[in-house]
């Protein structure tokens, strides 16, 4: 059974059919790419998958469970985490606290326990700190744990977003243009990190990206989107050599 499957997923904004009959099947542990020219509807698909938008038609299944039309927080609890195209960190919080917000639903103590600092508070906070530092270490951010998130350099902010998403313990990780604004060196580093995340956490990853070097370097399969419709799907090498795809990107 596929980890993520959508059937005829569609959404219209007024008269505009932003996504039309989108079908995708992603297996457990796959690194899957979603590419297409600007305005093709890639981020809209992410917003549909995470419950920001409600699909006009179609179904979304995560691990066989129907998550169509659920609220964002319930979809996150079901196991979908994402990053954003324009970075959305908790700017005024420290790097560690950003990750700890991601851990919010995995560790519990009551409000009163927090206000009166009962022993349970210290125990759970210590566990949270430990887990947060573990995650930060994976991304080589442990040295910046106490830095305010907005003061991080751009590349590290991207990484922190991934760390925060992973903190929610997802089954599926959606990365929206993780390499946007990175220089070639940072991109290569990011590719290694993404591969590492997949291997270490046995994560399934769906990513949107414009950087073809990154896409051809790490994605096993691709879906190409154009004007809201699937242009072609398949193994990365084949898809990128498809004349239709080249035409969509470069024109005739």
């Amino acid at each position: 059974m596929a980890l993520l499957e959508t059937k005829n997923l569609s959404i219209s904004f007024g008269g505009l059919r932003a996504v039309d009959g989108f079908n995708i099947k992603i297996e457990q542990g796959q690194l899957y790419g979603l590419i297409g020219p600007n305005g093709a509807g890639k981020t809209t698909i992410f917003n549909l998958l995470t419950g920001v938008y409600r699909p006009s038609e179609g179904k979304i299944f995560l691990d066989g469970e129907d998550i169509t039309g659920k609220k964002t927080i319930d979809i996150n609890k079901a196991g979908v985490a994402r990053t954003f195209q324009n970075i959305r960190l908790f700017k005024k919080l420290s790097v560690k606290d950003n990750v700890k917000v991601g851990l919010h639903n995995s560790y519990h103590y009551s409000t009163l326990c927090g206000i009166f600092r009962l022993p349970h508070y210290y125990k759970v906070e210590a566990q949270m700190n430990e887990r947060a530092m573990e995650l930060l270490k994976v991304f080589d951010l442990d040295g910046d744990a106490e830095t305010t998130a907005e003061n991080l350099p751009y590349g590290k902010q991207r990484k922190l977003e991934i760390a925060r998403a992973l903190a929610t313990n997802p089954k599926l990780l959606l990365l929206d243009e993780p390499a946007a604004g990175m220089n070639p060196n940072e991109t290569i580093e990011l590719m290694n990190t993404i591969r590492f995340v997949r291997d270490k956490f046995q994560m399934t990853i769906l990513l949107i990206e414009h950087d073809m070097k990154l896409v051809s370097g790490i994605c096993e399969e691709l879906t190409v989107l154009n004007f809201g419709k699937v242009l072609t799907q398949g193994k990365t090498g084949e898809v990128l050599n498809n004349p239709e795809v080249i035409k969509a990107y470069l024109g005739e």
């Binding site: 927080i73 985490a81 954003f84 919010h104 560790y107 103590y109 927090g114 206000i115």
Partner: protein
């Protein structure tokens, strides 16, 4: 000897408690040695309640990041419910302190409840819209209390919104809330000491809340609502939590305020729009999200007009100038830059020296 390694937040919290303690001690000594003018003495309890109000509003404005202009409304609810309770049980519960503690709990509970009721519709809004609606609710609360008549006789509690005659009291009955004339003869249970204790309790609740799991969720919502939702934070729950705790603490300030006055009236001056704005001024000048700053700003800005009283006509003019200067000093980019340079040059090296010496 074991060396205590305090985290930055713990140090910051200790500073906040320390500042309150020092101000309270100095004031206490001045009070006991009789060096305080009677005017200042009368201001002590109100200052305590303003500090609580400023800290609690900072929870909404600074930590939750929503501008509320109706904070005086919650204070009003706390003041009147508790004063009503105290008046009602004045002869039943004779131990003052027990009655006052119960009054505080009742005031906080009703104000918190009002916070939840008002929060439900209001927190769906954002930014300016939220500010305007909270402003309206604050005025509504004040105006409703202004036309409220409640009396008690052998048959029970009577209630009217018309006038005192409409209550239909028996000859032995007495009117407790008398419309625009409010409640008179509330037992004077508040004192400076109780005020300071309540400030500490407020700080304890607010600071511990901020540095807990719930506090992080609330600040995450402030910083980025969409991202907070995407990592599974329940937006409605945490907005409501921050708003109602803030309202309940404003209620506590109301209780303190009410039990310091002989006659409690809901005038525009003490529970109206002006009051809400004044609390907001404390919060903004102290620094949005800066609890320590709220405390200092509330104290300084309440004392300042009284200190300037000697200058008579120019009093409010100077007050305004001081406000503007503080505002410029704490927010203008040039000043921030200058402050940074100053810190870098004179303050940091000393600390660095100290720590490096300790390291050896």
């Amino acid at each position: 000897m074991k060396k205590f390694n305090l985290s930055k937040t713990t140090k910051d919290n200790l500073w906040t408690y320390g500042i309150v303690l020092v101000i309270a001690l100095i004031t206490g000594i001045l009070l006991l040695t009789g060096n305080l003018s009677s005017l200042m003495e009368g201001l002590l309890v109100p200052i305590c309640s303003y500090v609580i109000l400023a800290v609690s509003l900072n929870l909404t404005v600074g930590i939750l990041g929503e501008l509320s202009l109706g904070h005086a409304g919650f204070m009003c609810v706390g003041a009147f419910t508790s004063a009503f309770f105290s008046k009602l049980t004045e002869n039943v519960i004779t131990v003052d302190i027990v009655r006052f503690i119960l009054a505080i709990i009742i005031g906080a509970a009703f104000a918190g409840l009002m916070g939840i009721l008002i929060g439900m519709p209001v927190l769906r809004l954002k930014g300016d819209y939220l500010a305007i609606v909270t402003l309206a609710f604050g005025e509504i609360i004040k105006n409703v209390i202004n036309v409220l008549y409640i009396g008690i006789d052998s048959k029970g509690i009577h209630f009217s919104m018309k006038d005192s005659m409409a209550l239909g009291l028996e000859p032995d009955g007495k009117i407790i809330i008398k419309g625009a004339q409010g409640i008179t003869g509330t037992p004077k249970d508040s004192s400076f000491l109780i005020g300071v204790i309540l400030i500490f309790i407020t700080l304890f609740i607010v600071l511990n809340l901020i540095h807990s799991r719930d506090g992080r969720a609330i600040m995450a919502i402030r910083d980025n609502l969409i991202a907070a939702e995407s990592v599974g934070i329940n937006i409605t729950k945490y907005k409501m939590m921050a708003f109602s705790i803030s309202a309940a603490l404003a209620g506590v300030a109301g209780v303190l305020y009410a039990h310091n006055l002989n006659s409690l009236m809901a005038t525009p001056k003490n529970f109206g729009y002006n009051m809400s704005i004044m609390i907001l001024v404390y919060v903004v000048l102290g620094g949005i999200g800066n609890i320590k700053g709220s405390v200092i700003a509330a104290v300084v800005l309440t004392v300042l007009p009284e200190v300037l009283r000697g200058m008579n006509n120019y009093r409010m003019l100077i007050y305004a100038i001081v406000l503007i200067v503080i505002m410029l000093f704490s927010w203008s980019p040039k000043c921030l830059e200058w402050r940074e340079v100053f810190m870098e040059k004179y303050i940091r090296p000393r600390f660095a020296k100290k720590t490096s010496e300790e390291g050896k």
